[in-house]
């Protein structure tokens, strides 16, 4: 009940903010709306009882990625005018509307088979997910240790690459 | 002393911490008042009519031309001072009048609360300069020095000789 209300509120905020990101001409305001959208998505994670994901979303997206993006906006000075659409927007609009219709249709029409699982009566239990995620990732047999290491290497490569790209000659 | 990193910073903290045990130097002005220097050159002149002969040396000495004196001849062929004025609004407190007085009839005062609303009010006449509550500064009058109250020290005793 509470989670449902939260879902509706955050879903509406997320969609409106995402539309704002696309429609807003002022790039800085678009970035702020993007932050709002990230926040709403964090709320959605909360309503999915994914507490760790919600916090990770706030930490990484709102704290790091949005700051990076705003830095990018500031360093490239086309803030006021530079977020217009290109010539292909009508066709893109048609394609995206069609895709959205298709996605929504598929999502609604598919039988997700949730009932069968729900009869196992496991869904109502809301437990803290943090240690469970740690178990899922670091488990020796079924875990994601290799992807984790690859992710770490990816981040390192990204950091070095970013420094190498932007460094003054 | 060990040359550890941050030792200087810790010493800085120590110095500031020691300050907490010291006496505060702030004075709360309207309630508490500082004693000015015993040799202060303050905002007013004190005139002793008994010693003044009306020679007007002070008038000649004043670089601003603030001092105005009018005399008439009285008995024994001596000058009687009829009018003696100092325009404190234009006074630069150079002290030349006090220094030049051959009869030691002029003194600096010790008052420092003499602000007025209008410039005209700053002209001190005979009554004001001879008022009974005037305190004389020991500026150029070393014999007054020991009678005056000591100056309130804002810094510590070991620096007293500087004052």
């Amino acid at each position: 009940m509470g989670a449902d209300i939260a879902f509706w509120i955050f879903a509406v905020i997320a969609v409106i903010a995402a539309l704002g990101v696309v429609a807003q001409r002022n790039l800085f305001r678009a970035a702020l709306l993007l932050v709002l959208s990230f926040f709403a998505v964090a709320g959605i994670y909360g309503s999915l009882s994914a507490d760790f994901m919600a916090v990770a979303q706030v930490l990484v997206y709102m704290g790091a990625i949005s700051v990076l993006i705003i830095f990018g906006v500031m360093l490239t000075k086309d803030v006021q005018r530079g977020n217009s659409f290109n010539r292909a927007w009508p066709s893109a609009l048609v394609v995206c509307a069609a895709l959205m219709g298709l996605l929504v249709f598929v999502f609604i029409d598919t039988d997700w088979n949730t009932d069968m699982v729900q009869t196992g009566a496991t869904i109502a239990e809301d437990k803290p997910t943090t240690s469970a995620i740690a178990d899922a990732i670091f488990d020796k047999d079924a875990g994601f240790l290799l992807p984790l290491e690859i992710g770490a290497a990816l981040i390192l490569a990204a950091v070095i690459g970013a420094i190498a790209l932007v460094k003054d000659k | 002393m060990l040359n550890l990193p941050g030792i200087g910073l810790m010493q800085g903290l120590g110095v500031v911490f020691k300050n907490m045990t010291r006496k505060r130097i702030t004075e709360q002005y309207p309630e508490e008042r500082l004693n000015v220097s015993r040799r202060t050159r303050a905002q007013e002149l004190v005139w002793e009519p008994g010693r003044c002969t009306g020679c007007a040396t002070c008038v000649k000495a004043c670089p601003q031309g603030n001092i105005k004196i009018k005399t008439s001849v009285g008995e024994n062929n001596k000058y009687v001072v009829d009018q003696f004025e100092n325009d404190e609004g234009r006074c630069i407190f150079c002290g030349l009048c006090v220094e030049s007085c051959p009869y030691e009839a002029l003194f600096f005062g010790r008052s420092y609360e003499r602000s007025k609303y209008k410039r005209e009010e700053l002209i001190a006449d005979i009554d004001e300069m001879t008022a009974a509550d005037k305190e004389r500064s020991a500026y150029y009058r070393p014999d007054l020095y020991d009678e005056l109250p000591e100056q309130t020290l804002l810094i510590y005793r070991k620096h007293k000789r500087i004052l």
């Binding site: 009940m1 509470g2 989670a3 209300i5 939260a6 002022n26 800085f28 305001r29 702020l32 932050v35 909360g46 309503s47 009882s49 507490d51 760790f52 919600a54 916090v55 990770a56 706030v58 930490l59 709102m62 704290g63 790091a64 949005s66 700051v67 705003i70 830095f71 500031m74 803030v79 809301d126 437990k127 803290p128 997910t129 943090t130 | 550890l4 990193p5 941050g6 910073l9 800085g12 903290l13 110095v15 500031v16 911490f17 300050n19 907490m20 010291r22 006496k23 505060r24 130097i25 702030t26 709360q28």
Partner: protein, 382 residues
């Protein structure tokens, strides 16, 4: 001590799940809403009161250290001075630059202040006393919420449409982002030893205050807290000759007051976090727990003020160099050391004999690293 409904103390995931369980169980609804309203109002009142207390405390303490007296006119011992300041600032004209981005300019002070209030939701003043003191991701929540403030700084800098505000905002954000990382590593060290992310759990785990057990994490967290709060020696924003007042140049009246409130509220929050993570929270002998919490809070702020009275400001290159070259590698090494200790001791690293060991390691590492650390051609060390 007030009684806390059961529903609150049993590790809720998020507040709306709290609502759910409260709604399902039926009887708990009054209790829950009462709890929510009580602590929401309580937190705001607490923050406002302690902000006033901190302003007075800082001004009096720093004047004692500078051989002055400080505010002593309004009320007994000048206690009403913050009230007088607040009234003054509320009566000021609210000036908005004509070229400013009005909405962003308007929202920035609010976005500064809200995360500060949110942080207090998970800080336990006493066992179980708080909005959600036993949130199972408590300290992560605080770190995450604290990172929102960078966005607010950007909003203030951009919304003012003033180049000094913008440059100041860029500098502040660079500073805050740089120092967030060693801060997070210090927090991770605490979490590894305590074995929980919940603020209440961390306090309960501290049979030894972690400031003694993890001295390096404590020092680094404290330094980073100073940098996040932009207080001396990292208060580059107040370097008037360089960037005037940083991102809040164009703010006046109530909006400036909100920034000020956010600044001091952040100071309270960081002091409360340090108290909780490193100083054993509400724990203490004889005196009641809430009083212990307040004593530790004010002591920490006293240290911040003490540093403000004593230390000079660092240069911007020293600031960044210190974060990236000194604190980041050292905090990683510290993390490694703590991890090894936790593994060797089989998960229970809260032992008294570790205190001298860790102090020795800290002093050794910091000295060794300071020898390697040079900035700007000089020999400036930590």
């Amino acid at each position: 001590m007030m009684t806390i409904p059961d529903v609150v103390t049993q590790a809720p995931l998020a507040s709306w799940q709290l609502w759910d369980s409260a709604l399902d169980s039926g009887w708990a609804i009054d209790n829950f809403w009462a709890h929510l309203a009580l602590f929401a109002v309580g937190i705001i009142g607490f923050v406002l009161m302690v902000v006033m207390g901190f302003i007075w405390y800082e001004r009096r303490l720093i004047s004692v250290m500078q051989l002055r007296i400080g505010p002593n006119r309004a009320g007994p011992f000048g206690l009403l001075q913050p009230v007088a300041d607040a009234i003054k600032v509320m009566l000021k004209e609210d000036i908005v630059p004509t070229v400013a981005d009005k909405w962003v300019h308007f929202l920035a002070p609010i976005v500064v202040f809200v995360p500060v209030l949110l942080m207090f939701a998970v800080i336990p003043i006493h066992e179980g006393v708080g909005l959600i003191p036993d949130l199972n991701i408590g300290i992560l929540f605080i770190v995450a919420v604290g990172s929102i403030e960078t966005v607010a700084v950007f909003m203030a800098g951009y919304g003012s449409n003033n180049k000094y505000a913008l440059v100041g905002a860029m500098r502040s954000v660079a500073q805050m982002v740089s120092y967030e990382m060693p801060m997070a590593f210090a927090v991770i060290a605490v979490v590894m030893v305590a074995g929980t992310l919940s603020m209440q759990g961390i306090v309960q785990a501290q049979s030894i205050p972690f400031a003694l057990l993890l001295p390096m994490a404590f020092i680094f967290y404290f330094t980073c807290a100073l940098a996040e709060l932009q207080r001396t020696p990292f208060d580059l924003l107040e370097a008037e000759s360089e960037i005037i007042a940083g991102y809040h140049i164009e703010y006046s009246g109530m909006k400036f007051a909100t920034f000020y409130l956010g600044e001091y509220g952040g100071a309270i929050a960081q002091c409360a976090i340090i108290t909780t993570l490193f100083l054993g929270g509400w724990k203490g002998p004889i005196l009641p727990p809430v009083l212990w919490f307040m004593i530790k809070l004010f002591t920490m702020f006293g240290v911040i003020v003490w540093i403000r009275a004593a230390w000079p400001r660092v240069r911007i290159d020293q600031l960044m160099g210190f974060a990236w070259k000194y604190m980041l590698p050292l905090s990683l090494i510290n993390l490694l050391v703590v991890a090894i200790e936790v593994i060797i001791l089989d998960g229970d690293a809260i032992r008294w004999w570790l205190v001298p060991v860790n102090f020795a390691i800290t002093i050794g590492l910091m000295t060794a690293w300071a020898g390697m650390f040079k900035i700007g051609g000089g020999s400036e060390s930590a």
